[in-house]
Amino acid sequence: MPSPSADALQLSVELASGKHSLVLANPVMAASGTFSYGVEYAKVFDIQRLGAIVSKTTTLRPHAGSPPGRRIDETPAGMLNSIGLQNIGIDKLLRDLAPAWSRWRVPVVVSILGAAVDEYGACAARLEGVAGIAGLELNISSPNARRGGMEFGQDAATAAAVTASVVRACTLPVIVKLTPNVGDIAAIARAVVDAGADALCVVNTLQAMSIDARARRPNITRTFAGLSGPAIKPVALRMVWQVASAVSVPIIGCGGIVDGIDAVEFLLAGATAVQVGTATFRNPRAPLDVLEGIEAYMRAEGVADVRELVGAARA
């Protein structure tokens, strides 16, 4: 079997083309909410080698997140979070972070969320034309938002309206991040693609909970929370497969990816790129390790171009 050397590997993937193109040097992205704004780990390891970084979901105005109390819990091979979208707001993002991002090699995608459909468009308009912002990811999938988030992503018409409001408001590449907490994810995927989404991220956290048997009450102060980590990988994989059957835009697989083999499985199911979330808590370098794992797999299996893997399990 041929054994391509590291620099002979073709790792680049395209998430959007045409007037708003988004080309990544490799398919590994840091997921929203598990890498903050990128600057924290920039000092710790070479984040410039990543395919892209997605920012913490940011809203028009700063948000304090969930009320005081317990926000996270650990579950078998997973975790629950109810952060409630605590974030710095778009003004601070534009002032303090975008200038730094504009000097980076790694593209930064800003994740946005609005409490009303039009607020997504308003966020997008503020981010249009700003140096350092390579694209947008629409969070219509967080189970922790009081308004907006998952409730918009559970209804095809609303999901499409949010997407359309952003596509109208800017020329940036638009990724829509879907929620797994729906009956028919393919229907939502088709609706947002018809409304102009360039790519889809599949998926956000599964709504879940845990209970303290001794104290006889839920562990998380707000009762429900989002489940992530290796525990959700099989569900995420199934949904990537279903969405890949329904639409032809690039899909970003997300959910429980910890190593290169996990990532390859998502590519084989039909994803063009992947996002690494919870694994970063266990290992801050996780996205980089995932990339190196994909490269090792390609070398071992004689795969020269990562795009050969996309959907290869579907034949």
Partner: protein
């Protein structure tokens, strides 16, 4: 902050259910000071990311565990640091099972630790249970700089009390136990109240109920002293990324959310209670 593998040098049960484990990984303690902490991955797995899955991969327990630096020393291969911990669950049981030569993936130093004011000469240290862990290093450090240290060490019973013989001899020690099996019967708040006037600054670590009681004592006292406490909260990342460890504190009249891992774990007791 640095990331890497720390090698276990020695590990033993020191007293009661409390373990001490020494590590070699000088870069993980570089620039650290008392009150700071590390995150440790507490499960067996080969390094992640490799193309093959020849090594074991443990996704459980998934999250890393926060632990304070307990002490530093010079070892044969450079600086060594250690943890002092109670075995309370899967992560700490795994840690206690490590043997010399085993490696643990960790990152640190993290957070903001204790701040000793330049004008402070008399330091009052108040430890509740395993809260003694970070205070021992503070005591070591203060004594080496010629400061006066009084340490109040409290626990449920004698088995939970850190042995005074292991502290620098210059440290004045007051022991309290709930059941009176060692030292004075009662809580640390009593000697804390008596010694508050003597000290220039107080430093505490222990359960939240102890901090609340200390805040009440400090508020009633005739003198105003700064009381720094180390808070604990469930942590995801330990590095200010996940916003999982937020606590509400009072600052300049208003209430704001702060991150225990990044803005703390050291807070002024009056800002929280």
């Amino acid at each position: 902050m640095n990331i890497g593998y720390a090698t276990v040098v020695e590990s033993e049960r020191l007293y009661g259910e409390t373990w001490i484990t020494w590590f070699r990984a000088p870069e993980l303690a570089r620039g650290a000071y008392p009150g700071q902490f590390l995150m440790l991955r507490c499960s067996d797995d080969a390094s992640y990311g490799c193309g093959s899955r020849a090594g074991a991969r443990a996704d459980d327990p998934l999250l890393p565990r926060p632990m304070s630096y307990h002490r530093l020393r010079d070892g044969a291969g450079g600086a060594e640091w250690c943890l002092l911990y109670d075995v309370v669950g899967r992560g700490t049981a795994w840690l206690a099972g490590r043997r010399p030569g085993d490696r643990v993936y960790a990152w640190g130093p993290l957070g903001r630790g204790y701040e000793v004011g330049h004008a402070s000469h008399n330091l009052l240290l108040v430890a509740g249970g395993i809260g003694v862990a970070p205070l021992v290093w503070l005591a070591d450090d203060a004594v080496s700089r010629g400061l006066n240290v009084t340490m109040v060490i409290g626990g449920r019973s004698a088995a939970q009390i850190f042995p005074s013989a292991l502290l620098p001899k210059e440290v004045e020690v007051v022991v309290t136990t709930d059941d009176g099996s060692s030292g004075r019967a009662g809580f640390v708040t009593e000697p804390f109240g008596e010694l508050l006037e003597w000290c220039d600054q107080a430093f505490a670590c222990g359960p939240n109920a102890m901090f609340a009681a200390m805040a009440a004592v400090a508020r009633k006292a005739r003198v105003r002293r700064s009381v720094q406490v180390l808070l604990e909260e469930r942590m995801g990342c330990g590095t200010g990324i996940c916003y999982g460890c937020a606590v509400e504190v009072r600052l300049r009249g208003g209430r704001t959310m702060k991150l225990v891992c990044k803005d703390g774990p050291r807070f002024d007791v009056r800002d929280v209670w």
